[in-house]
Symmetry: C2
Subunit: 222 residues, 2 copies
Amino acid sequence: MESQQQAETGKNIQRQRWKQDPEGVRANILEVALKEFADRGLSGARMDEIAAKTRTSKRMIYYYFGDKDGLYRKVLEQTYREVRTGEKELMLDHLAPKEALRRLTEFTFDHHSKNPDFIRIVMIENIHHGEYLKHSDLIRGLNQEAISRIEAIYDKGLDQGVFRSGCSPLAIHWLISALSFFNVSNRVTFSLLFGDALHNREGQLDLRSQVADAVLKFVALE
Amino acid sequence: MESQQQAETGKNIQRQRWKQDPEGVRANILEVALKEFADRGLSGARMDEIAAKTRTSKRMIYYYFGDKDGLYRKVLEQTYREVRTGEKELMLDHLAPKEALRRLTEFTFDHHSKNPDFIRIVMIENIHHGEYLKHSDLIRGLNQEAISRIEAIYDKGLDQGVFRSGCSPLAIHWLISALSFFNVSNRVTFSLLFGDALHNREGQLDLRSQVADAVLKFVALE
DNA sequence: TCAGTTATGTACTGTTTCGTTAAATTGTCA
DNA sequence: TGACAATTTAACGAAACAGTACATAACTGA
């Protein structure tokens, strides 16, 4: 009886009705893949696992992205794009240079903190020697803006005599990035080795303001 | 003729003479595995590849380390141990606090720079949520010293009135670590996105001194 | 309405990779 | 000298995994 019924349903496979939604499917796959890659790394992520977590099938991943590398590549681009566009909201032109720099630093600190998946993808990309980033012209353009933004603030600060000369906007950006990035990237091991005083709730608020202090003290005069 | 000889040698397998050297074999495996894990990540590294690069066989890896995770665990411990013991050489007691802090910072910067494999293992461990570090009591002990060292310098600086109060040794350590670590960990992507001005030879010398500046300005008075 | 194209589902395949087995040989130390 | 530890070699098994073949449903535009 059981087997009879099985045989019958086996014959008349009742496909579910479905709507075509290529963009939705693509987006859904990318979203799931980002989480999975960020969580397990490039080699650690499993295509079957990603597929299972999408609302579609493995077939579609290969249909849209070719292979695992292709999928990772798109995830990388997408992630950079989202994060960088998220940074543009910030309006600093009307602020005094010191205040602008503090705001920018604290914003970056928070922004990284809120986007751990991005941080982890960048870590993974570094582990893989930037092999995929190398071949993405798209991404390079997005990042020059970050430097210009700082340059504007820095020049203004020089003009007003509140910043010391001899800093480069690139180095300032590096400094802000380093502190904001490390805070997320090494949270786990740092906490394990030294306790979570810097990474619990109050600790983070305090650390953020200390990071801003450090950046300001580095650039400001006296 | 050829095949005859082959058959014969096939029969009398001439084993090479070998010395027993368990410690040597273990060390050799760990060395190769470190490079391989650091280069490819935990999931990316292949046991067969590691085996091929050792002077011994895959069998021995399993003989000594059980499985891939066991091997990785030992690599992790070994790497932390080596790096931390390498840090102990530094003698700072006789220096003035500011000078001591500058030396410590520049030393750490160089030390990380010379140990990219360690950096990469720590990155990998963070990617894996510190799962393996969690279970290693051994490692935790090694790291408290780093804090004490800074505390000694900081307290002396407070006494002498050259450091401001309100910093914590932990935060100072975090700051030094962050900058020294990020310099190595994100070298690839940062260079790709912003050029190698900070990472070519002169760039690194300059950056090191700027990092020390930043740390000193953060801690010092006025 | 129907032909051609795009999108999707199901089941499968071939390979990679971890880990093991088996049996022999050599070194070491009490 | 005998027991035990270390090592070699070669091949195998099973599971995990990336990727594919094939069929079919939905859409589009003429």
